[in-house]
């Protein structure tokens, strides 16, 4: 995991109100989690943008299944 990917995971976990501590991993299938909803999606887009300095393309995001998939768009 790169330093910026590690930062992304930490920032995302801190920003997601209902995500349990240590609950985010690169392999996590986030859409299957009980805390995943439209607000969590916007939060992920915001944290991606602030961490990697560019927006996450929505079309690509819709195909992502794991956090690792998301990070591959960085």
């Amino acid at each position: 995991m790169t330093p910026s990917q590690s930062t992304f995971l930490k920032e995302l976990e801190a920003s997601l109100a209902d995500c349990p501590p240590g609950g985010l991993t690169m392999e996590l299938r986030f859409r299957d989690q009980p805390w995943w909803d439209s607000l969590a999606a916007l939060t992920l887009l915001a944290v991606f943008d602030s961490t990697f300095g560019k927006p996450l393309p929505v079309e690509g995001f819709m195909k992502c299944e794991t956090i690792g998939d998301v990070c591959r768009h960085a």
Binding site: A17, D37, S38, L39, A41, L45, A46, S50, L56, V58
Partner: protein
Amino acid sequence: MHTTLSNIRIAGLAVTTGSIERDYVQDGLAAGVDRSSLERSSKVIGLRKRMVAVAGVTALDLCADAATRLIAEMGIDATSIDAIVFVTQSPDHSQPNNASLLHGRLRLSKSAPTFEISLGCSGWAFGLHHAALLCAHGGAARVLLCAGDTLSRVTNPGDRATDPLFGDAGSATIIEKTGRSAPFHFVLGADGSGAASIIVPAGGARQPASESTRVETVDAEGNRSHAENFRMNGPEVFNFTLREVPGAVNAAMKLVGWTPAEVDALVLHQANRFIVSTVGRKCGFPAEKTPMDVFEKYGNQSSASLPCALIDGLANRLEAGPLKIVGCGFGVGLSWGAFAGELGPLAIAPIKSYP
């Protein structure tokens, strides 16, 4: 487009809201939504109260009330208004436009022309630019800008992704030509390739309203809507906002030569608390310089939200003025309009509901 217009000032502001108060949590509970989920959205996004118009009241009525109150507050004669600029996506009719109807209601001079701009959440900035242009170069000394919508009429109550967001409101702004050097800077832009991200598909000439356009469909999250309803691709619009708004705000600040530390307030379209705080932070502004309470009091008021944020967050300071203000509206089109300039002292008619 980057523009600087001189010798203009905003002389007065007024906002009128709908009169029915809706409560996000109570409405959600009634619809069978889990309380903890509602309270989390309420806290993070700011979904609390919104004011919607009673049946029969339109954006024209709300703007007319705001204009009438502002004219009285300023002690001016309606016949001294040299032009009307009306911004709305909720006109009373496809023709004539709201600007002409308001001209008749206010009994303006026959020499005062009317202009209508079809835009939503970016619209106040575009209308302000047009009104300023009329004052700076168009021979007008005083222009009335009205901006407002009744978007609660086009959302589907069964669509929990859009219906709880919107309130109804109309605004009035008086722009005047002034003898002193008072530059106002604008950065206006559009991206029509994203037009489908915010759309009411049917009801216009392309797809006229009919029984078939009122057949409801249900999306993957269980939200119901039909083709005459307001539809928004939330993630696309959010990315558009993050992509375009900070750059437009920074460009406006570059035109005026201010840094965030020198600016008194960054006033953003009150899309919701989450978006305003995220964009404000990305623009380099602390939360205390970014008014963001309008959404949780009144809902997303489309083109009326910027003047409402100015009044709600800064009324006393604007009446004393001047303040260094930077702002940006963004939304349907897709479109965005940033502005920077000194505001105040100016007249303010308090936020009021109608009827």
